[in-house]
């Protein structure tokens, strides 16, 4: 029996028992408890409305009033060739393939890596690495106050599980490809990822969202990163969903002393996209660098929501977000920096730059500082502009044709964020996609 959801919150509540029965043979009681708690939260919260301050610029009615169902299998649509088509060329990596939120081991390729490192589907890890999963899952991404996290927690079926023990360094990046297939009904997928990086350990994780058809579905993603002391991690969110799809994602990072996270979000697909990044710098000397690039066009809506929490002294955070908006697209940058009591000598910096390529594109940018402390350095700056005519003229006066000059200018703008990527093949692949974006944009003018 299909598990279906409509515009009533109860439909989400009613579907859960059937969901647990259908998709978990034997669900551990602790997990079942969490899921039941989560759906209770969701039924209380409901989907956010424009009256909710954190959702002021993003209208979720197209999601809350829509109907979805838990996706059927859809694996038959995907094979080795289609995987190759979507994957990042020449990225030497552990490859995990998820189709409509379900792990496909036959198409995945997990290689050997340093001793003790575990890379597998979360569903498998529920048995094999029970203690670790139970200890961490749902402990950071708080489902009590967030509708989408609660919905994900209740309805997640699978995702990636990564465990890097003390002082180990994952030699290859973990690449997670999520493919949505052309379902008859609109599907709801809830990928759930857990990445545990112990003291002095290191790992890179790439999340990549694509679809085989331009159809309507909802990807509701939650990823928890747990960083031990002096741990180093890099995260990539490559969002290339169907132009009619919804993608809501939350990256929740918990940092211990002297740990470093670098996160990159590239938003290209989707009708309505919300990208939440929420690091908590909970230990002295942490570093959190968050980069983002969003390129909505046509009627796309992309909302970047940052919440950077400084909970300990001597921590540095950087938010660096660039957006290029064309046609009737809308963008949102909402950057909140919270400096808790006791987090002295905090250095938090936020930059958001936007280029509007059409008169009908729109951006709302909203920095927000909450400081419960003294002796902190917080800066923020936002710019909104058109392409710099002076610079275009400079390039043209050197013999570079108009179109080329415009491309160079846009590229220079996107390079500011892409440059921070350490995985060269990922950067190259994104650069190529962005070039196509530019070409399309120019062709329509």
């Amino acid at each position: 029996m299909a598990i279906e959801f409509n515009n009533k919150v109860e439909s989400y509540v009613n579907g859960l028992p059937e969901f647990q029965k259908t998709y978990f043979k034997e669900i551990p009681s602790w997990l079942s408890d969490i899921k039941n708690e989560a759906i209770k939260s969701f039924s209380k919260l409901g989907f956010p409305t424009p009256l909710d301050e954190d959702w002021r610029f993003t209208n979720l009615a197209p999601i809350s009033r829509n109907s979805f169902q838990i996706a059927s299998n859809g694996i038959s649509e995907v094979n080795k060739e289609s995987i190759d088509k979507f994957s990042i060329p020449s990225l030497d990596c552990h490859k995990l393939i998820f189709v409509n939120g379900r792990y496909v081991s036959d198409l995945s390729d997990i290689k050997s890596d340093a001793d003790g490192i575990v890379i597998k589907s979360l569903k498998e890890a529920l048995n094999s690495d029970k203690d670790l999963v139970e200890k961490h899952l749902g402990k950071y991404a708080e489902y009590k106050n967030d509708a989408f996290i609660s919905l994900n927690t209740a309805y997640f079926e699978d995702g990636v599980f990564v465990y890097v023990p003390k002082s180990k360094i994952a030699e290859k990046p973990v690449y997670v490809l999520n493919i949505s297939t052309n379902e008859e009904a609109q599907s709801l997928v809830n990928p759930r990822n857990l990445v545990i990086v112990e003291d002095n350990a290191e790992v890179k994780v790439v999340e990549h969202y694509v679809s085989t058809a331009q159809n309507v579905y909802l990807s509701n993603v939650v990823t928890e990163f747990v960083l031990g002391e002096n741990a180093n991690a890099e995260h990539y969110m490559l969002e290339l969903e169907s132009k009619k799809a919804f993608n809501i994602s939350t990256l929740r990072i918990q940092q211990k002393r002297s740990s470093n996270i670098k996160s990159h979000s590239i938003l290209l697909g989707g009708a309505i996209v919300r990208n939440n990044v929420h690091p908590v710098l909970n230990g002295e000397g942490c570093n959190s660098d968050i980069f983002g690039l969003y390129l909505p066009k046509d009627r796309q809506h992309m909302d970047n929501f940052m919440r950077v929490e400084h909970a300990s002294p001597h921590c540095d955070s950087r938010q660096f977000y660039n957006g290029i908006l064309d046609d009737k697209a809308r963008g949102v940058f909402h950057g909140r920096i919270v400096v808790h009591e006791g987090a002295m000598l905090t250095d938090a910096k936020q930059t958001n730059r936007n280029l509007l390529l059409s008169d009908t594109a729109q951006i709302d940018t909203k920095p927000q500082l909450e400081i419960y402390n003294y002796d902190v350095k917080c800066t923020h700056g936002a710019t909104i502009g058109q392409m710099d005519d002076e610079a275009i003229f400079y390039l043209k006066s050197r013999g570079i044709p108009n179109k080329e000059a415009r491309r160079i200018m846009l590229q220079s703008f996107t390079n500011e964020t892409l440059e921070s990527m350490s995985l060269e093949p990922v950067r190259e692949s994104m650069e190529n996609l962005i070039l196509e974006w530019f070409e399309e944009s120019f062709a329509n003018k």
Binding site: Y394, K396, R398, G399, I408, M409, Q411, S412, E419
Partner: protein, 252 residues
């Protein structure tokens, strides 16, 4: 080579150039001097093709072609080069990238094959040595974080790579100390040739000690009001621009 006839130019409804005439022959160095607001920079920007300027009358013939009909990029490929008074900073675009793109655009325009990376590198390094530019320069973003002197040297460097037939230097000397000025002058002098002309726009006579012009013109209120040899520049330096104004007022 360059023939400007009765050029009238407006910016935002204000007439800046009011019937300017100038002829520059192959291999000649012309200097244009004048007080602030006389139209010096407007002339250079109009020749390079900036679209904020509206040409209301007159014509500009460059090597037999109607220059005003050409896009800025085509003018560059035809051999015009403008060294900007205020070179633009372009973060995220490496100097070497801009130069290679520019050079190859020009070569393509003239039906030449693009230069290979290695060949380009060799060419660039050669020129950089003469201009006392550090190797790291190629990788840096265009003019980003450059000092005033570095920016001007970069303009001359670009000119050397692109080898224009008409180089327009718009107040390239302004704001330079004497050492930087000499380096710039050396760069220009090394490019003198019977096939290349220069239009040197300046506020001060100082640069002309190092780059000797064949002709000096004084621009005032949108017209060339006086022309002469290099001695005119000394006269201006000594007396200032006041006497030009008086002379012009007397005529009216």
């Amino acid at each position: 080579m360059l023939e400007i006839r009765n050029l009238h130019v407006k910016v935002e409804d204000k007439e800046i150039l009011k019937g300017l005439n100038l002829t520059v022959n192959k291999g000649e160095i012309h200097s244009i001097m004048g007080p602030n607001g006389s139209g010096k920079s407007t002339l250079s920007q109009v020749l390079a093709g900036k679209d904020a300027y509206e040409v209301t009358d007159g014509e500009v013939i460059f090597n037999g072609k109607d220059l005003l009909e050409l896009d800025p990029e085509d003018r560059a490929c035809e051999g015009i080069f403008l060294a900007f008074q205020y070179p633009v900073e372009i973060p995220g675009v490496a100097n070497t990238y801009l130069l290679r793109e520019a050079l190859n655009a020009k070569r393509k325009y003239n039906d030449l094959k693009p230069l290979k990376h290695v060949e380009f590198g060799k060419l660039a390094r050669e020129k950089m040595k003469d201009l006392e530019i550090d190797e790291s320069f190629l990788k840096r973003s265009v003019n980003e974080g450059f000092s005033g002197g570095e920016k001007k040297r970069n303009e001359i460097f670009q000119m050397q790579i692109l080898e224009p037939s008409l180089a327009i230097l718009d107040e390239t000397d302004s704001g330079l100390d004497i050492d930087a000025l000499q380096v710039v002058a050396k760069g220009v002098n090394s490019m003198k040739s019977p096939d290349r002309s220069f239009l040197i726009i300046t506020h001060y006579q100082r640069l002309l000690n190092y780059i000797v012009p064949d002709y000096v013109h004084v621009i005032y209120d949108g017209q060339i009001v006086k022309s002469g040899g290099k001695e005119l520049a000394f006269e201006l330096e000594e007396k200032g621009y006041g006497w030009i104004e008086e002379e012009k007022a007397a005529k009216v």
